[in-house]
Structures are given as structure tokens and as C-alpha cells.
Amino acid sequence: MIRRVRIKDHWGERRVFTIRSIVAGVLVAVLLLTIAARLFYLQVVRYAYYSELSQGNRVRVEPIPPARGLILDRHGVILADNMPAYQLEVERDQVGSLKQLRASLARLAQLGLLDPGDLPRIEQTILSHRPYESVPIKLALTDQEMAVFALHRFEFNGIDVHTRLSRNYPFGPLTAQAIGYVGAIGPRDLAHIDPALYAGTTLIGKLGIERTYESTLHGKPGFREVLVNAAGRPVTREGPYRPKLRTTLPVAGTTLVLSLDMRVQRAAQEALQGLRGAVVAIDPRNGDVIALASSPSFDPNEFARGLTFKEYRALLADPDKPMLNRALQGAYPPGSTAKPYYALAALHYGVMAPDDHIFCPGYFHLPGSSHLYHCWKHGGHGEISMRRAIAQSCDVYFYNVANRLGIDRMHHFLSEFGFGKPTGIDIPGEMSGLMPSPEWKRHAFKNPADQVWFPGETLIVGIGQGYMLATPLQLAHAVATIAARGHSFVPRLVIGIRPPGAKRMIRLPPIPGPTVRGVTPAQWEVVDEGMEDATKPGGTAWRVGLNAPYQMAAKTGTAQVFSLRKNERYNEKTINADLRDNALFISFAPADDPKLAVAVMVENATGEGGQVAAPIARKVFDAYLLPPTSASPGAASPTTAPATTAPATTAPPTAAPPTAAPPAATGRRPARPLARTNPVRRGHPTDHGVTETP
């Protein structure tokens, strides 16, 4: 067999290798050019695209929250400002695992810095943020808490104290009802705010002025570019790579100037101390609310600091309801304070002349009915004119007035004074009260038998009882309208604004309300005189007028809050405290040139309107109309704020978790007013405070 032997062919082998090498070299060149082409594509063709991606990578835009606008009283006294507060914050990725986070929070609770009951909520809040974000877990630390934390700081990784701006109310409970408060932004707030505007902000207006004027007070956040690394953490570079970063400064919020006069506000709130009630003082010439007090009050600073859930629950569960702004959320029977309006109606419709006398035997009965309607004065007033009927609050006189007017004209005329509808004040939560009418009754009741308007109900409404309800704010607004002889203004708290950078305050013009027409000056005069007489000897409020350097015009009221059974007589001493009568007082002064109209309401008072409510009004008038004495410096020393029933526990507050946000922010009323606000549940009108004789 033939065996082929291959012999090494050096020349041929070199040739093969050379050819192969050249082919390989060409292939190498082609592939290197491919890479070059790819690089050209990335760096030249798509340069703009990748350049932008790179920029977005390295720079994070961080918001700088704006300073919230200040709130001042009409004389420039600061009612709300911003103060640096020490805030405990957590950076999750610095803490470590979830287990370590829980351990750290538990340890903080052990040290008394957090409430153990809030831990799950705090943990949830932390976990809802990005791991590198600093999350506040306790809004304002006291010096003592700072000391405790400083002592144990070494135990905590990723938890530290930062200085942030927090809201401060120098007068605390004194101004809480008008100004409201700010609290942690909750999920419900997030639904209606622009997240870009609130970037970096932790607090938002929840109630009162803080809420109504939130967009004005808030301002505009600034932005700061921050260099971040791949993990998203801000870095400061020492090396050669230090790029330029831009900063846009925030625009502070607009400063609000309120109509409140802190001296008067203090007098009103302090006069109510220990009582449940409200005072509203309005300048009848422009609708400025000079004082708006409700007692008991609460400390709005607690909300800015962050209440624990337990504290918040306690505040809501308080039987005295400090969270209820009685001045505009409490609707009460106006009682005899409604009489001046009915007197005007009687004159306007001509059913009574000023000098017509009515005989008051102490009771009244409708023609063809044996049902007796009593006067508050057992023996009766005898022959009585309109002026004296107002001054002495004769019920029988006004039974006659009501009987002659009829419910439709009563309803129509008192509606002109704002009864039964919100006044339109610039803080939220106002109740509309109720000015009843047959029309209303047809819609309010389900049972057809209840839908009928009885003539007796007209008489009861004629003395401000029955279905009729009004808020203290409405009472003040209505009496201011009398003071201004029918001219009304929408009550307002904000009278001026000062935008950031502006040198002077921009005054806002008063907002005119509806005018009561068709009442002659002489007719106004009759009611004026009757109200002036009330504060003179013989009047129901004669004590309040003693030694007053100015002439007041007033009307007292004592309104029943429950129905007496047949033949039962009211006895203050034998009745439960919360079923006692409400004391009311409406007034303006000086009578010849009214500068201030005041309405006072005290729930379940131990005494009548003239005894309990009138002295409170007197203090308010004194504070406003008399020059300040050295003993009562207007807005000085906020530290002497009266005790508040707010937070029963003085335990340190924590970041209010979203669920602890006050329901006021949701548009719901925080609690039901103590006075009956649901007319449907009221008893039959014939039972109302009037004994019946068979």
C-alpha cells in the first residue's frame, strides 16, 4: 500500500502563515473600526442624549421650604411666626436593617422620647419615604429631651437632631380659635395640594386663618442642586471634580394682618376663663372682627409640635370640647336677644306703633285657645310700650308682636339680618344656624304630622326659642347691623396683606353685605333707645351699665336648652349643670356712635344673661374703648396665657402621624356643638319652656 509521506515545505508553510496573518490583520482592522464607529455613534451622534442622562444622574434637585407668612394683629403684634425647632429625624439607610430600625425606635420610646403607641405609625411613615431621605419622627424637642438624646446619641446610627423652622403662636390658646393651627401634612391634604409647591414642607394649615389663607401664607419653595452619588446620597467633593450647582432661593409667604386687637382678644378670652362660651366683637363700621373667643381653648403650638395619637384622642374626647369653636360652630337658641329684630319688624310692617301699649298680665293665649304662654315675670309687666318691652324683655309684648307679624314675615325680616345663613367670615367651619319657617318645616320632617306649622310655634320663635338657632358670630353680626342702622359688612379677620418684599401693608377694603331697607331712622331710634334703657336702672342689664364712661345699647337673653315637662318650672339649683340655661348678651357701644358690637354666649350659666354674659361684654368694651391702663397692657406677655384644657397629658408630642391629623382638615366638624344643632330632634313646640294650663 502506498503511504503518502508529507514533507515539511518551509516555504509553503511560511506562505500559508503570511496569508493567514494578513487576513487576520485585516479582520482586526475591521473590528477595531467597528468599535470606533460605535464610539462615534455614542459620543457624537447621541451626545446630547447621553449628556442629559449624565446630568440627571449626578444632580438631584432638593427643595428649600419657604418661610411661612407671619400673622399680625391690627396693631402689628405677632400672633404667629416661625421659630427654629429641634427636630428628630431618621435616615433609614444609615440605620441599617428594618430590625435595627425597630430596635432604635423602641429604644427612643424607652428613653421617653417617643410614645410607644405611636411606634407603628412612625415606622410606617419612615418606610413610605426613600431610604436616604431624612424623615422627621419628632417635631420639636424640649431642652430636656435634647439633653436626653445627646446623652444617648452614641447608641443611634442614622438618627439625629436637625434644626428646622416650626410654627410658633406666642399667645397660644388666646388666639387659637381665630388663627387655627398648622399640623403635619396628612394624606388628605396631599389630595388637594400641588406637591411641587409643598416639596420640603412638613406643616400645613389645618384650621382657622392658617387654613383659609394657606396658599397666601405658604410662599414658594426654592431649589438647590445637590451632587449625589450612585446610591442617591448627597456628597461633598474635596477632589478636583467640583461642578457648579445652582440654587434658587425660596419666596417667603405673605404676611397677614388681622382685624383682631390682641388687647380685646385677650380680655374676651380671659373673661371666658372657666366657662364654656364664646365672645365675638365686630366693628360695625367695616365688619372687622376685633375679638373672636371661644372657651375652653387649646394650645395650637401642640399641633405644630405634633401631638401623639393618644393626646389628640384625649383632646377630642374632652367633654368640654376645646376643639369646638363655639363662636361659629356652636348654634344656640338666641332667646330674648332676638327681640330687637322683631321689634324692628313690627315697626317696619306697621303691626305696632312705637307708642302702642300692650297689657302684660304675665301670660298670653291665642284666640280660641286655652293654652297659656307665660312671661318670664310672674306678675306681668302691666301696660308696656315697645321701648320698655325691649329694656325689660317682656315676653307677652313679643308674643303679641309675633302673633301679629306671622311666621313668614318674621322669617323674611330676620333673614335680612343674617339669621339662618352663614355670615361668610373668612375662616372655615361656620354653621348657618336656623331661622325657621313653615317652608323649612315641610322639608325638615319625615312624618307628615310634624310638617305642619302650628301658630304656637310662631309665638315661641317670637321670643328666640323653639327651632330658632344662631351662632355667636351671627348674633354679633346682626347686632352690628342694628348699630350701623341696617348697613352690614361681611365679618372678616384679614384686613391687610404684606407680600414678601413689599414695604407697606396692602389694606383690603371692607366687604359690604346686604342692607336692611325700609326701616325709618325714627324706627331705628325706638329700638336703640330700648336697648340703651336695658343698661340703665330698670333694664335687664342695669348692672353692666353702672359707672360705664360710655353709653351701651344691649339686649340680654336667657335661652333654655331643654324642654320642660308640663307644669314643670325651671329651677337652676335642682337641674343638671349641662341642662342649665345659656346666658346671652348682645350689645354695641357707644350708643350714639357705635364703634364695637359684641355678642356673648355662655353655656349652662349659673345666672341670666344680664348677670353672667353682660359683665364679659363690659370687659371687652372697656378693653377696646378705654385707653390702655398700665395694669392691662394690650398684647404684652404672651406667657400669661390662661390655662387651657388642651392636651390633658403633657407628655412630649411626636410627629403627628397622618391618621392623627385633625378632622377639621377634612372638612368635617370636629365635634357636635353642645347646644342642640339638630332641629329635627327637638321636642314639640308647645313644650318649649312654657307651662301649659289645662
Binding site: 515545505d9 482592522a29 459620543q43 444622574n57
Partner: protein, 379 residues
């Protein structure tokens, strides 16, 4: 030959001290110069990419000293005869060590690629990057070219054994480079064109068919196997950040030490596998093209030196070293620019790290030794 003598004598007269030193160390001047330039660039870029870490630069300089020593020693003292003797020994030792690594790795229940020698860690797979082309060249040295079918089978087995052992570590990237270095020898030796042409559609079909026949989870497993360090999302993140770095560099770059992607740690492995992106970000297209040009010169010069080899072993070994270097460059540059899948391969002579640098410079030492120890007799 006379010409050679003439030129040698003529040049000898005008030799500078540096050139004489190169001669004495048996180094190739142009290749040595460009390699040194690339090493300098590498040190500068490592300093920037490491976030100005002086310790890393010091260690890299240490790596370079060791690697250059390997190059010089091999170029000066090894001869083609020694290298031919050494080739089977190195191969056998390498296979043995790979088996040891696989077994200890298996026992230790983890991927293991290196042996701890106490004073240093040592990757046997790196030996194979040189030992596999050398054993193939050694095998073909006495045999006539082009290789017979039997020769091809033998070489295939010689390549397959270490490749399989490295795949088992598992280190697919290195295994591919080892296989490639062996295949280069087969191609240069004269692998019949018919087989090359036939293998292309066969391989493509096999890959396509295999890909479509396996289940989705198996494909997933293959992808994970291809890139064991990270999942697809992770690998995707790497490649996206790398392309952002390169693309945002533009034509002229952001400036030395001013690449935000690398300085702020957006770029993963910026000192090692993705250092080419740092060059792209800080020196732009021009910087990258300059480096690619230097690489092209090294490959071209190496091929030129290999072509001058006087025997089969010298030519095949030299050619394999030159083209393997190209493969390293192409796989790394292609990976960071997104045209080759992510494989953990460093950029030769620039990436931080000692092992691959020693291997590569040792290869160039062998290349230069084979060239400078030519007998000055013509065939």
C-alpha cells in the same frame, strides 16, 4: 543576509545608549515603547477612576513592576528551545492546578478561580492563556502544515481540556479567551478554509436551534451562567451607565478627573472592567481613538514580529499572542460600548489588577524572545 549584516553594522555605529540597552535585553524597541505608553496611560486613568486613590495606584505600579520583570526575564533569558521544552510542562502543570482548583472549589461549595499560595493568589487559568497556544504550536512544530485531520482533533482536545476545566469553575469569560487563543493557532496553522466556512452556518444553526429548543427558564439559566455576577437587570444597569459615561464624554471628554459618572460611582467597576468608559467620559472620542490606535499598533507590530519567526513554533506562538491581545481589547471595548455581551474581561494593560497584566506582558516577553533569538541564517 549580507544586507542584514550591513544594516546591523551600519546601525551599530549610530546606536544610542537606550537602543543598546534594548538590544542587550533583547527587547523590540517600538513595541516596548508603545507598551510603556499604554501602561502610563493606564496608571493615570486608574488614579482618576479609583477616586484619586493613591494606594491603588501604588499597588498598580507594583503589578506593573512584576509584569515588566516577567517580560524582561522571558525576553532576555528564554530561548525558543527552552520555550519549546517548557510548553508541555506548563500545560501539564496548568491542567493539574485547574483540577485542584475545581476540586477545592467544589468542596468549598463556591466559585473558586485562584489558589492561595500564602504570599499571593494565583489563577491557574491565566497560565492557560499562554500554555494553550504554546502547546498547540509545540504540537504542530515538527509536523507539516497545514494540519491533517488527526492533528486538528488532537489540538481540539488539547484546547478542550483546560477550557472545560475553566468553564467548570465557572468562569466562562476566561474559558472563551483560552479557547480563542487555541483556535487562533489552528487558524494560523492553516485550518482548511472549507472547515471554516462550513463551521460558520453549522455553529449559527446549532446556536439558533439550541436557543429555541430549550425552555424559557433554561434560557434564563444560560444567561445567568453567561454572567454569573449579576442578573440581567444588574448587567443592564452596568451597560446603561457605561454607555452614558461614554456618550456624555463627547468628542473631547469632560476632562481628567471630571467624569461625573465615574467620580460619583454611577459607573460600576470603573477601575477594572469598565475603565475604557472612564477614558471615554474624561478624554472623549479622541482619547479612546488614541488608545485604540496604540492597541492597533501593538497588534500590528506583534504580527509583524511573528511573521519574521523562523520556525512553526515561533510563528504560531507569536501570532497567537498578537491576536489574543486583540481579542482582549475587542471583547472589553465591545462590552463597555454595548456591542458585545457583558463578559468580565479587563482592558489589557490599563485595567487595575495584576494577574492579567503579568500574563499579557509575559506573552510579549515570549514574543520578543522568539524574535530576538533568531539565528541570522536565511532559509
Amino acid at each position: 543576509m549580507i544586507l542584514d549584516e550591513f544594516s546591523a553594522s551600519r546601525t551599530r555605529r549610530t546606536l544610542s545608549a537606550g537602543t543598546r540597552a534594548l538590544r542587550a535585553l533583547r527587547l523590540d524597541g517600538p513595541l516596548t515603547g508603545v507598551l510603556a505608553l499604554i501602561l502610563c496611560i493606564g496608571v493615570l486613568v486608574v488614579y482618576s477612576a479609583s477616586g484619586q486613590n493613591v494606594r491603588m495606584v501604588e499597588r498598580q505600579l507594583g503589578n506593573i513592576v512584576v509584569a515588566v520583570a516577567a517580560l524582561v526575564l522571558l525576553a532576555r533569558f528564554s530561548t525558543p528551545q527552552y520555550l519549546r521544552l517548557f510548553a508541555p510542562l506548563a500545560y501539564a502543570l496548568g491542567v493539574l492546578l485547574l483540577i485542584v482548583v475545581d476540586v477545592t472549589g467544589h468542596v468549598g461549595k463556591g466559585a473558586q478561580r485562584w489558589l492561595d499560595l500564602g504570599f499571593m493568589r494565583f489563577q491557574p487559568s491565566e497560565i492557560m492563556k499562554l500554555a494553550v497556544p504554546m502547546i498547540c504550536a509545540w504540537y504542530m512544530h515538527e509536523r507539516p502544515l497545514p494540519p491533517s485531520f488527526k492533528d486538528l482533533v488532537v489540538m481540539a482536545v488539547l484546547i478542550a481540556i483546560p477550557t472545560a476545566l475553566v468553564v467548570a469553575q465557572p468562569d466562562l469569560g476566561t474559558a472563551l479567551l483560552i479557547a480563542a487563543s487555541g483556535l487562533i493557532v489552528m487558524l494560523l496553522a492553516g485550518l482548511p478554509v472549507s472547515i471554516i466556512l462550513l463551521s460558520i452556518p453549522v455553529l449559527a444553526l446549532a446556536a439558533w436551534g439550541g436557543w429555541h429548543f430549550v425552555h424559557a427558564y433554561q434560557r434564563e439559566r444560560i444567561l445567568t451562567f453567561l454572567n454569573p455576577e449579576s442578573d440581567r437587570l444588574g448587567a443592564g444597569y452596568h451597560i446603561i451607565q457605561s454607555q452614558i459615561a461614554i456618550g456624555s464624554g463627547g468628542v473631547f471628554g469632560k476632562g481628567y478627573m471630571h467624569g461625573s459618572q465615574s467620580q460619583l460611582d454611577f459607573l460600576p467597576e470603573s477601575s477594572t472592567d469598565f475603565i475604557f468608559s472612564v477614558i471615554g467620559e474624561e478624554f472623549g472620542l479622541l482619547g479612546q481613538l488614541l488608545l485604540l490606535g496604540l492597541y492597533a499598533f501593538v497588534i500590528g507590530r506583534s504580527l509583524y514580529l511573528a511573521l519574521q519567526g523562523q520556525d512553526t513554533f515561533a510563528r504560531l506562538t507569536g501570532g497567537a499572542i498578537a491576536l489574543s491581545f486583540f481579542v482582549y481589547v475587542f471583547v472589553n471595548a465591545g462590552m463597555v460600548s454595548g456591542i458585545v455581551p457583558v463578559v468580565g474581561v479587563p482592558l489589557p494593560l490599563v485595567s487595575y489588577g495584576g494577574t492579567s497584566m503579568v500574563t499579557i506582558l509575559a506573552g510579549f516577553g515570549i514574543l520578543m524572545s522568539l524574535h530576538s533569538h533568531r539565528k541570522l541564517v536565511g532559509s
